[in-house]
């Protein structure tokens, strides 16, 4: 049996839940109320784009890219890397994703047809990432100060990005998928190893995205 096969998820966890969620709390306090501003900006662009205001569709990839850059720089690189030596690699992946969003996003092709599964799935995941995700901390019994919001924290940013990817066209979608899919798995398994019910957030979002992508192809 390979040496790696003997490791459990708990063996790979480098920090305690208390340390991780205090990190998020202190991060949120440093930036408050930027969280609200980022959500408002994303809503102002995504909602009209979802109801087919074509000119605004071009603004979605840069807004998402900005959110990925902010998460990579301020959270992964400046803070999370202090307790997790893998995070500089994750930050690099997030910067690559931001570049891909800017380069590939505008070439996504026609948006999902109104009333299609992809259209509703995209709206659902985007709104979940922007409006519902911050309440997961509270639902999981944690301090609301540790709420995860779009543009500040990776998981709601990934959820919103998945939603936008479904809404805004499918051409070259495969280029935009690997990094958010990999992050969702990593984040979900990390929370799972911490025995945190919030693990259902990233894993559930990933499952919903994949179901809509696969079902939407039929």
């Amino acid at each position: 049996m390979s040496d790696w096969a003997t490791y459990t998820l708990q063996d790979l966890l480098l920090f305690s839940p208390r340390v991780y969620f205090r990190l998020i709390e202190r991060y949120n306090q440093d930036f408050w109320p930027l969280q609200i501003v980022l959500i408002a900006v994303a809503l102002a662009v995504l909602v009209p784009a979802a109801v087919r205001v074509d000119r605004l569709r071009l603004a979605v990839p840069p807004i998402l890219a900005l959110a990925w850059v902010l998460c990579a720089w301020q959270f992964l690189w400046m803070r999370y890397a202090g307790i997790n030596w893998a995070m500089p690699y994750a930050a690099a992946a997030f910067w690559i994703q931001a570049a891909l969003l800017v380069l590939v996003g505008p070439m996504a092709g026609d948006p999902a047809p109104a009333g299609s599964l992809r259209h509703y799935g995209g709206i659902g995941l985007s709104m979940f990432g922007l409006l519902a995700y911050p309440f997961i901390a509270w639902l999981a019994g944690r301090s609301p100060v540790s709420a995860e919001t779009f543009g500040m924290m990776p998981d709601p940013t990934v959820a919103t990005t998945f939603g936008a990817m479904l809404l805004l066209g499918q051409r070259r979608l495969w280029l935009l998928m690997p990094i958010p899919v990999a992050w969702s798995l990593y984040s979900g398994l990390t929370l799972w190893a911490m025995r945190e019910p919030a693990a259902l957030g990233p894993l559930g979002v990933l499952a919903a995205f994949l179901v809509v992508v696969i079902a939407g192809r039929r």
């Binding site: 003997t6 063996d11 480098l14 920090f15 305690s16 205090r22 202190r26 803070r79 202090g82 997790n84």
Partner: protein, 305 residues
Amino acid sequence: MTITRRTVVQTLGLGLSLPLMLRPAAGQAGDMITKTIPKTGEPLPAIGLGTWITFNVGDDPLLKDECAAVIATFFEGGGRMIDSSPMYGSSQPTIGYGLRKLGYPERLFSAEKVWISDPASGAAQIKASRDHWGVGKFDLMQVHNLVSWEEHLPALLDMKAAGQLRYVGITTSEGRRHREIERVMAEQPIDFVQLTYNILDREAEDRILPLAREKGIAVIANRPFRQGDLIRQFEDAPLPDWLAETGASNWAQFLLKFIISHPEVTCAIPATTRVEHVRENLGAARGVMPDESTRRRMVDYVEAL
């Protein structure tokens, strides 16, 4: 505050042990059971301090101060060995923070690891570790999880010969690569081996601990509580009515006394973030130690739970 069985036991114990607490700190440190490092005869308290997960607190001022209090309590209680690794996130700077606050106690026995696959980067990593701790040299440097040990070990032995280290060792955990560990122990002039040994993980008893005795190698037992799982598993179970024979007064001490009462185990390194747990853990190295028949009874009791 969450009231647990542990808290209740500690609170009751506090009242009973008040006369003892009034004794001078030096007296508390002095009565600790020590083991001998076979290669030099140097005595070492049988309970050390691990830092895996518990000291990886980043730059959080509150949590860093909690860890510093753990270190202070550890030294006040007679502890010496602190063990860490570059793999443990911010644990090394946290140790340095705690040691600076204490003014670097002379009792410190610093145990570190080299953990890098590129052998050429080993020296730089060790220097970075020294800078994090704020020490001029480490007492013990171990090859972490046997990573590139064929290349690192000669370099560490050279450092030892040059007086830049006092001891050299290797580590593994959770029973991994024991055959390779045996080979290193048999063929290399190492001073320490670190591996997982606790009341449920006793594979080391078959070959590695006898080999340590034969080769004169000190043994550090990691994961004494299986990362807290053993405490969580047993804390609601009754302690045996023959507990006095073990010398323990709670589950943590029961589990630790089993480990350090093995003749070949030099030191166990439980990790914690709480000062009351440090005191509890250090208490395992005081008083009566279980003999061989009591140790067998301890295993039977725990396995029947």
